[in-house]
């Protein structure tokens, strides 16, 4: 009988010939990513308490991305502690203010098809775009992982989601996820979502990563995309040679899925999620009649400020101005992306239109850094989550949209269908 990709990955990681959904396995962890927010500051005292070190200083990767750059003495102290931890435990891979962890794992060749990886952030699912298991865990669980090098899992069932057809202008991977949050709901715990089909095959790696990132919004264990030539190119671009068996990591044709869904990308319209949850979505044009005034338009986070996202923003802003009474803030997902967007003129287009650039980091998306919003304010954001109070005041309102849709709202001053601004 055929096996799903997740079964193959968990069988290898647990040292078994094969595993079946529902089975409880202990998996060896190939990469354990911990962050300034819930990493060293939580884990170091626990290591002291246990009197042990980390299981492998090559496999524990540390990223400072949540409290960067330090905006107050507490953040500065957390970042210093993070750097001290790296020195003390001789951590070999440390990214200090280089960008957001999930994007850095992809940019720097850390991910290979078939790997089993854990991250101390719920959007660690983003790594699944490389055909590996990567999922999010709390700091308490990551404390266990850095000590033991393994973790228990229930082998998940797989929900297969196939997309065919090409996007129309002004439509992006983000719109797929805002629609799926509505269609599949946020309660798919202990299940994997595997994306496939022609639309996904034709996507760049950065767009694929939107789908796996927001598998977290579906409540899934993780998202997966079987590797192909695009995946191998991305691994090489990160300075790593793909493993010889890389393309063998895929679900068998006769694998069993717990659900199968098919969608047509050619009929997909830009989507917007209204406060206070990602599944509360509808086509962008449905919001136009309400003329919802936007105080802030935010392009940021792991999911929504990659180079492809900044290109979408620039395509809307070219020759236009941000509306008076609305502020546009752009925090590129990494320094590398910032550099590339500077070199190709994208940042110039954004700043000429009146956009403000912010540092690369998790920032306002999680209410941690510059760009948080006040009581009564409305923000439309290219980020992945709009729970009550997430970006600041409990009485603020966050709408989610694609980079096209956020840029179009910045120009119009209210929520509109971005296709009106793209010919």
């Amino acid at each position: 009988m055929g096996e799903t990709l997740i079964q193959k990955i968990m069988a290898r990681a647990s040292g078994k010939e094969s595993v079946t959904p529902g089975e409880i396995v202990t998996c060896a962890v190939d990469l354990a990513m911990i962050l300034d927010s819930g990493g060293p500051r939580k884990i170091w005292p626990r290591l002291e308490q246990l009197g042990v070190g980390v299981y492998d200083n090559e496999k524990v990767v540390v990223v400072a991305d949540h409290f960067v750059p330090a905006a107050d003495p507490q953040s500065a102290a957390i970042l210093k502690l993070t750097r001290d931890f790296v020195k003390k435990f001789d951590i070999k891979h440390f990214y200090d203010m280089e960008g957001i962890c999930h994007v850095l794992m992809a940019e720097n060749g850390h991910l290979q098809p078939g790997m089993f990886a854990c991250g101390g952030d719920s959007h660690s699912t983003m790594g699944g775009a490389f055909g590996c298991y990567m999922a999010g865990f709390g700091a308490i669980e990551m404390s266990g992982v850095v000590v033991t090098g393994d973790i228990w899992s229930v082998v998940p069932e797989t929900i297969k989601v196939d997309w065919s057809g090409s996007f129309g202008p002004g439509v992006a991977a983000k719109d797929i996820m805002l629609l799926l949050a509505r269609e599949l709901g946020m309660e798919n715990a202990f299940k994997v979502v595997e994306y496939g089909g022609e639309t996904i095959r034709n996507m760049s790696m950065m767009e694929r990563m939107v789908l796996t990132n927001m598998a977290a919004e579906l409540g899934a264990e993780t998202g997966l995309i079987a590797p192909d030539e695009t995946t191998l190119e991305a691994i090489r671009a990160g300075g790593t040679e793909p493993a010889a068996d890389a393309l063998e990591w895929r679900s068998d044709d006769d694998a069993t899925f717990c659900a199968e869904h098919t969608f047509d990308a050619s009929t997909l319209a830009p989507q917007v999620a209204a406060p206070h949850k990602p599944s509360n979505s509808a086509p962008a044009q449905d919001y136009e009649k309400d003329q919802i005034h936007v105080d802030q338009a935010y392009i940021g986070a792991c999911v929504g400020a990659k180079l492809t996202d900044l290109h979408m923003v620039a395509s809307v802003l070219k020759g236009r101005q941000v509306k008076s009474g609305t502020r546009l803030m752009v925090a590129p997902s990494s320094k590398k992306i910032m550099k590339e967007a500077a070199a190709d003129g994208t940042l110039a287009t954004i700043t000429e239109a009146g956009g403000m650039l912010l540092p690369s980091g998790c920032g306002a998306c999680a209410g941690l850094g510059a760009g948080i919003i006040a009581e009564g304010e409305v923000c439309i954001s290219s980020t992945n989550r709009n729970f009550q109070g997430r970006m600041g005041s409990n009485e603020s309102f966050v709408y989610l949209g694609s980079p096209y849709t956020v840029a179009a709202a910045a120009v119009a001053g209210h929520i509109v269908d971005p296709r009106e601004m793209l010919s």
Partner: protein
Amino acid sequence: MSAVTGKAWVFGDEVNSDVMAPGIYFKESVDVMASHCLEAIDPDFAPNVQPGDIVVAGRAFGVGSAREQAALSFAHMEVGAILAKSYARIFYRNMLNFGVPALIFPEADEINPKDEVTVDAIAGTVENKTTGKSYTVSPIPEHLMEMISVGGLMPYLKKKIDAGELKTGAMPK
């Protein structure tokens, strides 16, 4: 771990971890963090919850962020147990790792705020003393029972390390 009895605090579906542990308080102590737990949806909860009280919730309790502070806040306030129709996976794992029993409880709608509830996580029983109704629930998964019974992940690892059953790196000098 023995049975706990406490007052029920009742919440709805899809209560997310951002409202359990708002990001704007991330840098604060666990005391401060916990004092803001769920304030956006029930400002009475954090100031009034007592050790041993039972948190009752609907579907996908703890959906969203991986932040351990969401689970840690309940542990810090010494909540006796959580009874929810279903859980988000990271929150569920965090809760058990902090040694607080999180049980799947489909009959959550039958518990009203302030009902007196007794939960025995090992036996898998829930008793609503106010309504007089008793329930059988799936106990904690067997492979986690040992961890829960010693109080959570850290005490469990300590026990294994002390017994020489766990090989890992040494604490650097």
